[in-house]
């Protein structure tokens, strides 16, 4: 179980400027990642994505940087907002508000 504050990017095609306000140890919640994620990857606690493929960019980055990832969470960027506290269960693949 991982608990933390989330940072949500609601648009699909996001860029570096959309990461403004991302703080250390936050959980990044996105539809998918883009190569811009490398700028903050060291600060990311967990990556949560809507997309679900072992070869998607987020999955590759998570393996390269040894970061936990929760993939395939439907509409997660619509259901959650930046600043909310959540609990993530990687085994059951769930994310819930605290």
């Amino acid at each position: 179980m991982i608990k933390g504050k989330i940072f949500v990017i609601k648009k699909r095609l996001w860029k570096t400027e959309d990461l403004l306000g991302f703080k250390n140890d936050m959980i990044l919640v996105v539809k998918n990642t883009t190569p811009d994620i490398t700028i903050i990857i060291d600060k990311v606690k967990v990556i949560v994505t809507e997309i679900n493929s072992p070869l998607c960019h987020a999955a590759i980055i998570a393996r390269e940087y040894n970061k936990p990832i929760l993939m395939g969470v439907e509409d997660v960027t619509e259901k959650f907002n930046t600043g909310e506290e959540v609990i993530i269960n990687l085994e059951n693949k769930t994310i819930i508000k605290c």
Partner: protein, 141 residues
């Protein structure tokens, strides 16, 4: 695009690379050409979807999954990806490991390809498409 799929079935990695570059160059050519027609832009959209999503996340995934069983000694799909991505030292695997590794790294090359500040130059594609009134939603959705 048919060549890309065909050479992936054959698992001829140099030919797969050539096919990818040919598609990429065609895509860039369409975006660079001010006289590109709506039909050309739909072709660019097809290439973007193929390279950015269908091929890299689905077709190539299947190509690796089908062949992972031929790696000796046995290795799981997840462990294979983890070893390659973490640059873990390995030895004692057969030739199939090296071939799948080379193929996977090539696919990763697509996933990390950026141009003009966006993944697969998608931002420029979106801008040009909008200007020409071609597409109203994200091509990779």
């Amino acid at each position: 695009m048919l060549d890309l799929l065909k050479y992936t079935y054959i698992f001829d990695i140099p030919k797969v690379k050539e096919s990818i570059e040919r598609l990429w160059n065609r895509y860039q050519g369409i975006l660079d050409n001010k006289d590109s027609t709506k039909e050309d832009l739909y072709e660019a959209r097809a290439i973007l979807y193929c390279l950015g999503k269908f091929y890299s996340e689905e077709f190539a995934l299947g190509a690796i999954e089908r062949r992972i069983q031929y790696i000796k000694p046995e290795i799981s799909f997840d462990k294979f990806l983890e070893m390659v991505d973490s640059d873990e030292k390995y030895s004692g695997y057969n030739k199939m490991f090296d071939e799948l590794r080379e193929f996977y790294l090539m696919v990763k090359g697509i996933k990390n390809r950026e141009k003009n500040g966006s993944y697969l130059d998608e931002e420029r594609f979106n801008r040009i498409s909008k200007e020409k009134g071609v597409i109203s939603s994200h091509p990779l959705d």
